[in-house]
């Protein structure tokens, strides 16, 4: 009931999460929630560490966490910071588990960590990672091509094959593999490796693995192009190789996990920590906490919807009427492409370029006027490597 209340109150958040996950870079995220549910069920069924779904131990501390989580969501919503929005969503979900299971919630630490993958990386980290990975993958692919006797010239992310230039674009940076591979490393480690160092090894190989397999993919593209299979490299192969290369990476990961599992003996079996006896919470307490949480969700979501939108906007002149003559500069109007408009989601926009007397002194002046609470969906173009 609480979950239903949470989902209903914050439906726009969940909707946006789904939209965001729909992009090709993030569609692995569809797996996260089913995976979380499965892992919880697995804990329950196998009695791995004494967790039982039906044993409640209501804790008011969860309420504190929920307030904290909602705070983050509001902060993220009003400040347009996606990481805060979804971070808050995750904190709230963790707090809900604590509310219902009390201290036993720590037995669900692993599934809750997996659930954290619904939170997108902050854009600046994303940019940094993409840039670095793209460069490494380009350099490595160029080296592989040279080893295969293909003469190439590499400048940044452009690999010049002579007959054609390959551009290793953001979408092909390997970042698309990085997050799913980290997820895979965690899960494989959880099921196959008992020792902490073994799990760390799996996590450490993720970054090099994603660079190597991605560089291999670029290399194959280049090799096919040079050997007269240009169409193949650009069409079927591009999509197929993305899938195949990920499977190879997964297989390597599994192989490493199984190998290192044999290296170190499993740690001595410690008896699973005794489950804390279900604290006798009266039904009244459970009901009171549930009601408090539902009211909290309902109230905060309602308050958030009351907060401003563009409707509170003071009167203003439309940017279309912006003067074309500014001092000695004469302007002309340009329109931004549909793609940019979709990406920015502005209410109105004006882009002007003013051409002054001297040929080389060209201004461009752009003024955007936007409502920051519109949905901004970044979509990576699907383009050949």
């Amino acid at each position: 009931m609480i979950t239903a209340c949470f989902v209903t109150a914050y439906l726009p958040f969940f909707e946006r999460l789904v939209i965001r996950r729909d992009s090709v870079d993030n569609n692995y995220c569809y797996l996260i929630v089913p995976l979380f549910v499965y892992l919880c069920w697995d804990q329950h069924r196998n009695d791995r560490n004494g967790f039982h779904l039906g044993v409640f131990a209501w804790s008011a501390w969860g309420l504190v966490g929920i307030i904290f989580g909602i705070g983050f969501m509001v902060l993220g919503e009003l400040g347009s910071v996606y990481t805060f929005q979804y971070g808050g969503l995750w904190i709230t979900m963790v707090a809900l588990v604590i509310l219902v299971y009390g201290r036993n919630a720590r037995l669900l630490a692993f599934p809750l960590t997996i659930l954290a993958f619904i939170v997108p990386l902050p854009p600046f980290i994303n940019r940094m990672l993409t840039f670095e990975l793209r460069m490494y993958a380009s350099t490595l692919a160029a080296k592989m091509l040279r080893l295969a006797n293909v003469s190439v010239h590499q400048t940044g992310n452009i690999i010049d094959l002579g007959i054609e230039k390959l551009q290793v674009v953001d979408a092909c940076s390997g970042l698309r593999y990085l997050m799913p591979l980290i997820l895979m490393a965690l899960i494989v480690g959880y099921f196959f490796n008992q020792r902490v160092w073994q799990r760390i090894v799996l996590l450490v190989i993720v970054a090099p693995l994603s660079i190597v397999v991605n560089a291999f993919r670029v290399f194959l593209s280049g090799w096919l192009t040079v050997n007269g299979h240009r169409e193949l490299a650009q069409s079927f192969f591009h999509d197929f190789s993305g899938w195949a290369v990920f499977m190879i990476a997964g297989a390597i990961m599994l192989l490493v996990a199984v190998t290192i599992a044999k290296l170190g003996a499993p740690p001595p079996q410690t008896p699973p920590p005794a489950r804390r006896p279900a604290v006798k919470t009266s039904q009244r307490r459970a009901l009171a906490l549930s009601a408090a949480v539902c009211i909290l969700f309902g109230f905060s979501a309602f308050a958030l919807r009351l907060t401003p939108t563009a409707a509170n906007l003071p009167a203003r002149a439309r940017l279309e009427g912006f003067p074309m003559q500014i001092a000695q500069w004469q302007g002309h109007q340009q329109y931004l492409s549909k793609e940019i408009m979709e990406e920015l989601w502005p209410m109105t926009m004006s882009a002007r370029s003013t051409a002054p007397p001297r040929w080389a002194t060209a201004f461009s002046f752009l003024s955007l006027f936007m409502n920051t609470r519109g949905p901004v969906i970044r979509r990576m173009p699907r383009r050949p490597v």
Binding site: R316, F365, L366
Partner: protein
């Protein structure tokens, strides 16, 4: 950077506008081969001039709560420099232009 331009330097500079106000704008020095662009931007949001993206986020949140508004604008002006143009000369032209549009902005962007 988009379009293959490298970002050489970022700095904040003060401008004296035509109506006597002093505003701080962010200047970006961009270069691609022999082409140089002197770019500038500032967030013009609910009467505030902001250059830091962090402050921008903070005031978005703050003004949403206190003023009930989440609108805002980003103003960018870019100057394609001539190959032999000195930075100071380019900045003087750019700031002239911004000073001219500054007085026009309040009609189009609510303060």
């Amino acid at each position: 950077m988009g379009g293959g331009f490298d970002l050489l330097k970022t700095e904040d500079r003060l401008l004296q506008t035509a109506n006597g106000q002093s505003i701080k704008i962010r200047i970006l020095h961009l270069k691609q081969g022999s082409r140089k662009i002197l770019a500038s931007y500032f967030f013009f949001e609910r009467g505030r001039v902001i250059t830091s993206p962090w402050k921008n986020k903070f005031y978005l949140f703050w003004d949403a709560l206190t003023k009930g508004r989440t609108d805002g604008a980003l103003v960018r002006a870019e100057l394609l420099m001539t190959p032999d143009q000195a930075e100071e000369e380019a900045f003087a032209i750019l700031s002239d232009f911004i000073e001219e549009i500054w007085v026009l902005l309040p009609d189009y962007v609510p303060t």
